[in-house]
């Protein structure tokens, strides 16, 4: 019955032209001869002789031929198929009913409830926000995680990814963030849109369970493409999620947090399709247009002038081989507004969240912090923490070569600082929610390991106001 409603819905909006038989099927690509005027990017329905129905998209069209990318399961498909060109690009019906729901990568419900029915349909590729319509993001989001709030402050409308490697607690961090994120002085929390891309079942369950626990489930939408779901659908999963997010943010004026995990699986799918098409490969076989393609996803985060809602994007990706220079983290870092690195080394030492501070960054931090937003000393304290920590890390490296005894007194102090910083500032419980004041006070306490005159990045008057030596901290 549910099935049927969904089908009818598709049939009603897509009346199209029927063709019989494909010339060739190669990987996820199908070549169809005799097609006169398929539209570029048009959606195609494929009825197989196995009785299954699949969806596809036109990747290239000429007079007399169309190349179709098959979405969904390919096994069992033969060239003897019935192909319907629907006349329309990929759209999803959208309404408030999406809240609290779970869908697959073709936007079919997988929570046992009926599909969404609406006359309002949106193209999932979206359109670029006019740059002059953008409002520059300013509003500090308190995540309650000291290392993020203190050093990589997130603001509403930002896109800030986690760069991780498999086995590290990135999902835990993302879930903690989704649970705790608030903008101070505002009652309403975030609506969460979750895009699971090629996730294992247990990972997907973990997220859904987390949202349930906090009662956030009514303000949550999940699009799940699991590890055993077709890889090509991974191309659509984040786009469906963002189309919903745009609707919630810019039509319903909600503040939306979009979590996407794991974007590496998305990029793998992109590579697979590109290879199947025989395109000239870029670095490591990823297509040359991967930067632009990823940008059409990440740039959908933001705030629009005159609208109350916002989209904040928190993608997670695992770096293949833990290599930061791999094209996936590299291109992502070029597009997103910073990155938070997780490190194996810290994780092994039992530090949670295991954030590798030095290469991490939040590009929008500067606009979100300071007097009236967090606290006047925030920027200086963060700067000083970096500087001191980078010296501490160098001291640690040096100590490995020449032994701690060979370090100068000054270097020893920085080494001590690095240890204090990792265990008393970075480290915290996954269920501990620290207000920004506490985060900053902690920062002062770890800084007080160093002699006062070493704090050259903090103005004197702030030292006198906040340093534990003067009663602060």
């Amino acid at each position: 019955m549910d099935e049927w409603i969904f089908r009818r819905d598709i049939l009603r909006c897509f009346h199209g032209k029927l063709y019989r038989g494909a010339r060739e099927i190669k990987g996820s690509l199908m070549f169809v001869d005799g097609v006169e005027d398929a539209a570029y990017d048009e959606v195609v329905q494929i009825y197989g002789s196995d009785g299954k129905e699949r969806t596809g998209r036109v990747l290239e069209t000429k007079i007399g031929e169309a190349i179709v990318q098959i979405l969904g399961e390919r096994a069992g498909l033969e060239t003897d198929v019935l192909i319907k060109f629907t006349g329309s690009t990929f759209r999803i019906p959208i309404s408030e009913d999406v809240l609290g729901r779970i869908f697959n990568g073709r936007f079919e419900p997988i929570d046992g409830l009926p599909p969404i029915i609406s006359y309002e349909k949106r193209e999932i590729t979206g359109a670029p926000i006019n740059p002059v319509a953008r409002e520059y993001p300013h509003d500090f989001i308190q995540t309650g995680i000291s290392v993020i709030d203190g050093m990589f402050s997130l603001v509403r409308g930002q896109k800030l990814p986690i760069f991780s490697v498999s086995g590290l607690p990135h999902n835990m961090v993302a879930a903690q963030l989704a649970r705790q994120a608030t903008v101070r002085g505002e009652e309403e929390g975030f609506a969460v849109v979750f895009a699971g891309i090629g996730l294992r079942n247990t990972e997907a369950d973990f997220f859904i369970e987390q949202f349930r626990e906090t009662g956030a489930i009514e303000r949550m939408v999940a699009i799940l493409n699991l590890a055993d779901d077709p890889a090509v659908e991974r191309i659509m999963t984040p786009r469906i999620a963002l189309t919903i997010a745009e609707y919630l943010a810019f039509d319903l004026e909600m503040h939306v947090l979009v979590i996407m995990s794991d974007m590496t699986n998305y990029c793998e799918a992109l590579r697979e399709i590109s290879t199947a098409r025989g395109e000239i490969p870029g670095r490591l076989g990823y297509p040359g247009y991967m930067y632009s393609d990823l940008a059409t996803i990440y740039e959908r985060a933001g705030i629009i002038k005159g609208k109350k809602g916002s989209i904040t994007l928190f993608p997670i990706l695992t770096m293949p081989g833990g290599d930061l220079r791999h094209p996936i983290p590299d291109l992502t870092g070029y597009i997103t507004e910073g990155q938070i690195f997780l490190s194996q080394e810290l994780s092994v030492r039992g530090i949670y969240p295991p954030v590798n501070v030095l290469p991490s960054l939040s590009r929008l931090m500067k606009a979100g912090i300071g007097e009236g937003k967090t606290r006047e000393d925030h920027r200086y304290v963060a700067d000083q923490l970096y500087d001191a920590y980078s010296r501490g890390v160098r001291a640690r490296d040096l100590a490995r070569i020449i032994g701690e005894v060979g370090l100068s007194e000054r270097m020893k102090r920085f080494l001590k600082f690095a240890e204090e910083f990792e265990s008393n500032f970075v480290n915290q419980d996954p269920y501990e929610n620290r207000p920004i004041e506490e985060t900053l006070n902690r920062a002062w306490r770890v800084l007080s390991v160093l002699p006062e005159e070493e704090l050259v990045r903090i103005p004197r008057k702030m030292i006198e106001k906040y340093h534990p030596n003067y009663g602060g901290g």
Binding site: A39, Y40, R134
Partner: protein
């Protein structure tokens, strides 16, 4: 002229193959499909031609019509460009927003220059004067900061038969020129094909630095007005912040900023900051002397390719009025990638990392459009275009085609270093890897305007930093305490230079822009400190005693003191006095230490 029509034969992404139309030219602008998307002819064969479409092609079908316009891709030039934000094919984005809302969808047609605005035209020549292409015949106050010279379009000459002060739109004639009975109407709007450099009379050597207010650039790796510099760096190393600050604070008369395949929020940031930041000389917002071209990463790739040419054509146009124009492109790598993507779709043979063989030529042609020139026509005008381009090498590795070829064609490189950025040492310009061929050229300017000793201090400081880095690598094996005191003094001084001179915040406060004179005084203070202490150390005064001096830490901070130059002078005097006292204590005498210079 009857419309020349063909039809679409195939579509793959932004590339469309068309048939049924003969006589199209390379580079000709065509309207594609029912929605009339803008495109440009990029390849012609005997029975078909290929078009690069500047808008999203989703939904486009074979057999839809294609209309040829007979025109090349041109920039509309005239009053009304200043303080506007355009996309890569010169559509004013505020207008686009008014017409279709917050998202850029396809098929919008908006004129670059508003047709209904009247500008007050003041003639500068009289009736019956003989004029030719490039001559200035009048002017318009385009914004409070920019006087727009109205120039005779190239190729037109004769004598003025009518010219009159008054309010005109860009399409109305402001003068008529007659030659051999033929009358030509001069309007304030001209067109110029963006892929062709605008003509000029003569190239001049660069002489004057573009002062950007960042010490590491102005003092160590300057760019001259009319020169070109590249800023390569991995993600997050500070390319955009650096270029934004140059756009905001440098002493350019006009700034054209191309956001080429980068973030929308960065454009939003500029649009928030530029109207607020006042030009120090006039008190007017710097937006009034800026043009922004925004073709962000999610906007169509082929318009990104065009955006670079659009920007540089506008820059040349204002250069021809006699202005010093700074053209900033962030990031040229995204432009090169757009070239690559289109070449790939055209099935062109890739040579290096997928880039087509003509990549180096395109890069060279772009940077060649920088320069200091005598403009065509009279009165004589000297203007310049300075090009600053960000380069985003994959994996932060400079050994890749775009970086390599760019470095062949620019005169300065500001190499951004992730190690410095990780330490929040900004600007993260690596002083060992960067270079500037303009340093010698602008030496005269510094000697004349700041100090004749400038060059000598500059060289000494650079040498000290180089030596310090060698000592550092030794120290990282044996530990600093194992080094002799004179080497430790070099390390200490380089630390003061890094913290007190090279590092400079871009965020706010006194240090955001550093006057050349203050740059020199800071440098002199640190280097004179070094010279004096070097003598003391040789005479067995211990490095510990020196590095304990509170003045050492003060030298690292004084750049931020709100009292500016005064604070530096004061500290300088104190440092010198302190060292003299120290010398006295050990029965030594030190020379030098004179603030003038």
């Amino acid at each position: 002229m009857s419309a020349r029509r063909g039809y679409i034969a195939g579509i793959a992404g932004p590339v469309v193959v068309a048939k049924g139309l003969s006589g199209v030219k390379m580079g000709e602008v065509v309207y594609v499909g029912e929605d009339q998307l803008v495109g440009e002819v990029v390849r012609i064969s005997s029975n078909y031609f290929t078009v690069q479409v500047y808008e999203d092609t989703s939904g486009l079908r074979p057999k839809e019509p294609i209309i040829a316009t007979g025109k090349l891709l041109v920039a509309e030039l005239g009053p009304g460009l200043m303080s506007v934000t355009f996309d890569g094919i010169e559509r004013p984005l505020e207008e686009v927003r008014k017409q279709i809302g917050d998202f850029v969808s396809r098929g919008v047609k908006v004129n670059a220059l508003p047709r209904n605005v009247k500008w007050h035209f003041k003639p500068l020549v009289k009736k019956s004067v003989k004029v030719e292409g490039g001559d200035v015949i009048g002017e318009v106050q385009e914004t409070p900061l920019v006087i727009h010279k109205i120039m005779v379009p190239p190729g037109v000459d004769g004598s003025i038969t009518w010219i009159e002060e008054g309010d005109y739109t860009v399409e109305e004639p402001v003068a008529t020129v007659e030659r051999d009975g033929e009358v030509f109407e001069i309007k304030m709007m001209q067109e110029w094909p963006v892929r062709t450099p605008r003509l000029f009379k003569k190239r001049l050597p660069s002489e004057v630095p573009l002062i950007v207010g960042l010490r590491v650039i102005d003092t160590f790796f300057p760019v001259a007005k009319g020169g070109a510099a590249a800023v390569p760096g991995g993600f997050g190393t500070g390319k955009t912040v650096l270029l934004h600050k140059v756009a905001m604070y440098s002493d350019s008369r006009i700034v054209i900023y191309i956001g080429c395949g980068e973030r929308g929020n960065e454009i939003a940031e500029m649009l928030e900051e530029f109207p607020q930041l006042k030009d120090p000389k006039t008190g007017h917002p710097i937006m009034e002397r800026s043009i922004i071209i925004a073709n962000t990463s999610n906007m169509p790739v082929s318009a990104r390719e065009a955006s670079i040419y659009m920007g540089v054509t506008m820059a040349e146009y204002y250069r021809d009025m006699g202005y010093d124009v700074t053209l900033i492109a962030d990031s040229t790598s995204r432009w090169a990638e757009a070239l690559r993507e289109i070449a790939g779709r055209l099935g062109e043979m890739p040579v290096e990392r997928g880039f087509p063989a003509y990549l180096p030529d395109r890069i060279a042609e772009f940077y060649e459009r920088a320069g200091r020139v005598v403009a065509l026509g009279s009165p004589e005008r000297v203007g310049s275009v300075t090009i600053l381009g960000a380069v985003s090498p994959p994996g932060g590795d400079f050994n890749e085609p775009v970086t390599i070829h760019t470095l062949r064609f620019v005169g300065a490189m500001w190499a951004l270093d992730p190690e410095l950025a990780y330490r929040r040492h900004y600007p993260a310009i690596n002083w060992l890897k960067s270079f500037s061929q303009y340093a010698e050229i602008v030496e005269r300017w510094w000697a004349k305007n700041v100090s004749k000793d400038f060059q000598q201090y500059r060289r000494k400081a650079l040498r000290l930093l180089t030596v310090a880095s060698e000592i550092e690598s030794i120290a990282s094996i044996v530990g600093e305490s194992a080094l002799p005191d004179n080497q430790r003094l070099i390390l200490l001084t380089s630390e003061i230079l890094k913290e007190g001179f090279l590092r400079q915040t871009a965020l706010s406060g006194e240090d955001v822009f550093c006057q050349p004179r203050k740059q020199f005084l800071l440098l002199k203070m640190i280097m004179d400190f070094f010279d004096k202490t070097y003598v003391l150390i040789r005479k067995r005064v211990s490095i510990e005693e020196i590095s304990r001096m509170p003045e050492v830490f003060e030298m690292m901070r004084v750049k931020e003191d709100e009292r500016g130059i005064k604070a530096v002078e004061e500290l300088y005097a104190r440092v010198m006095k302190k060292l003299d006292e120290l010398a006295e204590k050990y029965g030594l005498t030190l020379g030098g230490g004179d603030m003038r210079g």
